[in-house]
Symmetry: C2
Subunit: 357 residues, 2 copies
Amino acid sequence: MTSRIAVLPGDGIGPEIVEQAVRVLRALDLDLELTEAPVGGAAYAAKGHPLPEDTLALAKRADAILFGAVGDWKYDSLERALRPEQAVLGLRKALGLFANLRPAILYPELANASSLKPEVVAGLDILIVRELTGDIYFGQPRGVRTLADGPFAGDRQGYDTMHYAETEIRRIAHVAFQAAAKRRGRLCSVDKANVLETSQFWRDVMMDVAREYPQVELSHMYVDNAAMQLVREPKAFDVVVTGNLFGDILSDEAAMLTGSIGMLPSASLNASRQGLYEPSHGSAPDIAGQNVANPLATILSAAMMLRYSLDSASAADRIEAAVQSVLAQGLRTADIHEAGTTRVSTSEMGDAVLKAL
Amino acid sequence: MTSRIAVLPGDGIGPEIVEQAVRVLRALDLDLELTEAPVGGAAYAAKGHPLPEDTLALAKRADAILFGAVGDWKYDSLERALRPEQAVLGLRKALGLFANLRPAILYPELANASSLKPEVVAGLDILIVRELTGDIYFGQPRGVRTLADGPFAGDRQGYDTMHYAETEIRRIAHVAFQAAAKRRGRLCSVDKANVLETSQFWRDVMMDVAREYPQVELSHMYVDNAAMQLVREPKAFDVVVTGNLFGDILSDEAAMLTGSIGMLPSASLNASRQGLYEPSHGSAPDIAGQNVANPLATILSAAMMLRYSLDSASAADRIEAAVQSVLAQGLRTADIHEAGTTRVSTSEMGDAVLKAL
Ligand SMILES: CC(C)[C@H](C(=O)O)[C@@H](O)C(=O)O
Ligand SMILES: CC(C)[C@H](C(=O)O)[C@@H](O)C(=O)O
């Protein structure tokens, strides 16, 4: 059966890194139908909206979405509803992609790239499970209003609503517990239960779901402490599960611990295992079109796609082994280049992965 | 004129570290009236409430509050309103302590303590200005409700409200711009304006206040990126200003970059320069009563108190110089001890600071 993949390259370095991942997918002899469509700033420029109807329809029909990156300074002055990021939020919401899996892995060959001491990060392998369709991201009511009374009567006030329903917490909890059960068996749920009602409720539901997973050890940590412990002793973590807002912050912090965010893939899944796969890094408009960006995070995202949405774990293994092999050969794009290794371009890195497949 | 200081030691290591700071204050020959009162778990144990009325009244009357730390596992199962942290939140709210100043400074002598590479953190000197009485910490409505309709109808839902009024943003902006003007002239405002209405409003007001400070260079950064950049290149920051929730996370992350959180003081000020001064670290119940905790963050908090609330900059300078001197002498409590330095107890560290004064 043909698997349908929507290819959304986006802005900045998006097109050139996605191109390499597409080459890798095509080389695998799988029955894939790849269809490209514009998204983000590129879609706004072409069609007046960052997530045009055709693109959204294609994404909905697809078994999986291979996504590059969106965003460019050019679009910074647009009203929020038309900015590139809205495409990301729109896709998540429309497809119900509630489970964001963000591995933070430090490849032994790249230990020097980290700003942390090698002994603190060598062998790092954390999985951050971030809830992606709830929380304060989509909560209503929100806006700017004028206060009628209280200490700031007459003032304008910006406001947003954070919330989580029990069903939303349960389903992300199951994803996280199952991931932890397949890994080292430890799950840390991060919240701010000492201050937030949403967090206390989150914690209560997590504890309830935990009873179904006796093989997983659940712990709880406040988000401020988690931000500290990630810096102090990141290897103490196995799987972290948290809400959309805290997950946004902590998954980026964890990614940066590795110093090689150009290597980190991500998956955003819904209940029917349809998924959006994208590198953890952004669109880097400053280096776009120069053939210097690192395509490996996108290539590894394609591997995650094969594993989670297309049931092709063996093809995913092949890609991951090929990436390991190019690293072992000493090939490095500019972002991870150091003395004693061979600097290659985006397309040369793609060539090397194809050869290693 | 006598300055009135409320001394609130709290829980865990609070009493022993505050004791050393009190010794230092008494040694300065200033006209200070120090009055002690229970707070946190200790107050709950003694009087049934973490912030008893007498303690609150004392704090309100005081020119400044010297605070230790609150929290102990013993109180974890209490309902939220009676838990030790409520004392912290209650004092902030009752006294209007909206401006939290959290320096993250790495003393050259302690560069090895960091989990980051020395070249990344040596000479680090960031000031995080966190708004402390607004945001989602106190926002209403909040609670747990049952949903009547929508995709999760019938579900329970936890919810909170994030908000900032213009006046709240303006006053913290002024504190931050003034601090930046006295330092290296750079202010980075951290928000999540690509997602939150509160943040877009925050950003708009920041830009407006910026026009009064042409000598300060204002930049904006999303909170996820800030969490990354603090790890990647922390020395790129001078002053960071942000809301209560993001400030909670980022100030702890920044503190941990130094690896010596036992050295970091903090100040929480209101509009009349009344302030609460406390170490950035917590109550560490695991080492309480053992005379091993580091009292320097509390002693340096007393110095901040003299500078910001009691107009005694020269006395503050004396304390800070004395702390520098004990570090130069190689004296270290357990948390910052390393080979080649002399390990001392809490009270011995206090002795040494007194001697160096
Ligand atoms: C672009 C932005 C809306 C998005 C988010 O905050 O979720 C991004 O930071 C991410 O993490 O994918
Ligand atoms: C104890 C807790 C409520 C508090 C906060 O979140 O503000 C603490 O983490 C802090 O930063 O002082």
